[in-house]
Amino acid sequence: MKKNRTLIFLFMAPTVICLLLMYVYPVLRTVAMSFFRVESVTADMGLWRFNGVDNYVKIFHNSGFIISLRNFLAIWIVGGVITLALSLLIAVILTSKIRFQGFFRAAIYLPNVISAVALATMWVQYIFNYDYGLLNQLVTFLGFDKVRWLGTDAKLWAMIAAFIYGSIGYYMLIYISGIEGIPTDLYEAATIDGASKGKQFFRITLPLLKGIIKTTITFWTINAATFYLWSKLFSPVQTEGSTIVPVIYLYDTVFGGKGVVERDAGAGAAVGVVLTLIIIAVYIVTDKLLKSSDLEY
């Protein structure tokens, strides 16, 4: 087809402007900012003072940031494995010959349309409550001692559990569409060959879902890295170590939290850069892992 330069230019211009304004410039500026001492986020570049890698040294010496990274890893790895496994399981169930598929799919996706603020409030005030919460009622009914679900040991896991519960529906839908895209004659052939359901899952479903699994891992990684609201709602008065995540740390560092008067946008930028590097590393690793095992069939 003939090239139409005016058309190309006109059609591309808005997207290019968007890329430059929303992504290229901000990313470059954040990277640059992470090497400067910048107090206010709106400070002109003239007020920046170069201080090398001091911002990075500072955040890696701050236990708030270290704990937030640790919590991020817990959310990403433990939460990720459980969420993706459970949603795959439910997807398999809901693509089998079960009844009321439509209802179950809609119901399980429902938490995604309820506001997270509402869900988290309910988890904190009801499910995990020490005195009358649902879980402790269950625990005492079974004859055990009450558990401090929101104590320092358990709070992170309580938060992750609540988050997982709300996230499953979304990943389930993605898996369902993947499974439904697999030609049914593959399964029919396998059934004739006498392969059990379990075998069919590991021999047919899982390998063919590889691309989709990669997608869900990517989505989950972005979700875990931008995890913010649940942490805020699980520590209602002020930021707590047990639930702090990088975005919360960044927010407090840049804007100052309760009782915190120091603001450091440079350090905040460094947090952003570190987190982005982690995400990139994750992409590369998952890409390698899932590609190398492609050879199996």
Partner: protein, 285 residues
């Protein structure tokens, strides 16, 4: 299909029992949560804090709903969220569809760079870009609803463009050639012929964009500077906080229900569409 539905094959159903148990447990838990939230919205703070939510010893406190509705601008929040979602969905299409089309049809200087940039941009975390955007907004004096609309549009452009690119790529060049013979300009060909051809993709990606804009929280929190531009998510957090500070937990959950209900009703009517949208959108991304 319809016939098998009427006749229950008990033996087969029994085999599916573990499967049923898993999904039923999941749904039952959700029902408990919703019932509790609804019960709490009709209770006093004291009843909530003594675990007597479903006993209604002091009757049903419908006035919680009155307080929650009156003292807060729930309707404004809804209006804003709707505005943001609708306008940004339209804006995203206007910007990314032409770009996706051009990228799928021609190679030109920089086209590969733009493609790569779009893919990278899709996974740039918000915290990496939020600070410069904040200072730009302050420096240029952009504020109010338009600021969030622009941000939401730009936020969805990379994903939408990449998504539609694949669909345009599958369209045959015959369409354009036929149009060119008829004397149709390239510009018109795109808007009148090519764009309608990928309608299913447009619907899917729009549902996807709509939901993510509706649920967006972090940007809204950072860039919202007043009631008149607050979307539902941040607005609900404000309500929850003010109810918490004033110790009105019944009102808090009433607010939760008020905000939840319209979304829920919409979901009831649209769940099939939404689910197919998310499913298709997720796979492509």
């Amino acid at each position: 299909m319809e016939k098998t539905k009427n006749k229950i094959n008990w033996k087969r159903e029994l085999k599916m029992l573990p499967g049923y148990l898993v999904v039923i447990a999941y749904v039952a838990f959700m029902v408990i949560m919703l019932v509790w939230i609804f019960g709490a919205s009709l209770s006093t703070s004291r009843e909530i804090f003594t675990g007597k939510v479903l006993e209604f010893q002091s009757g049903f406190h419908w006035e919680n709903y009155v307080t929650a509705w009156k003292t807060q601008n729930v309707s404004v929040f809804f209006g804003n969220s709707l505005l943001y979602s609708v306008v940004s969905c339209a804006g995203v299409l206007l910007i990314s569809a032409p770009a996706a089309y051009v990228l799928s049809r021609w190679k030109f200087r920089g086209s590969q760079t733009i493609r790569i940039l779009l893919v990278i941009a899709m996974s740039v975390p918000a915290i990496m870009i939020i600070m410069p955007l904040y200072s730009l907004a302050v420096k240029w004096g952009i504020k109010g609803r338009i600021l969030l609309i622009v941000l939401y549009i730009f936020m969805r452009v990379p994903y939408t463009a990449i998504y539609m690119l694949d669909f345009f790529a599958t369209l045959s060049h015959d369409y354009e050639e036929a149009a060119a013979i008829d004397g149709c300009s390239a510009n018109k060909t795109f808007w009148v012929i090519m764009l309608p051809l990928i309608q299913p993709a447009i619907i899917t990606v729009t549902i996807f964009n709509f939901l993510s804009t509706w649920n967006e929280f972090f940007m809204a929190l950072i860039f919202t500077s007043g009631k008149e531009m607050t979307p539902v998510g941040v607005g609900l957090l404000q309500i929850v906080n003010s109810m918490k500070y004033s110790g009105n937990y019944g009102g808090l959950f009433a607010a939760v229900i008020i905000v939840f209900l319209p979304t829920f009703l919409l979901y009831l009517f649209m769940s099939r569409r939404i689910i197919s949208g998310v499913t298709a959108g997720g796979v492509k991304g």
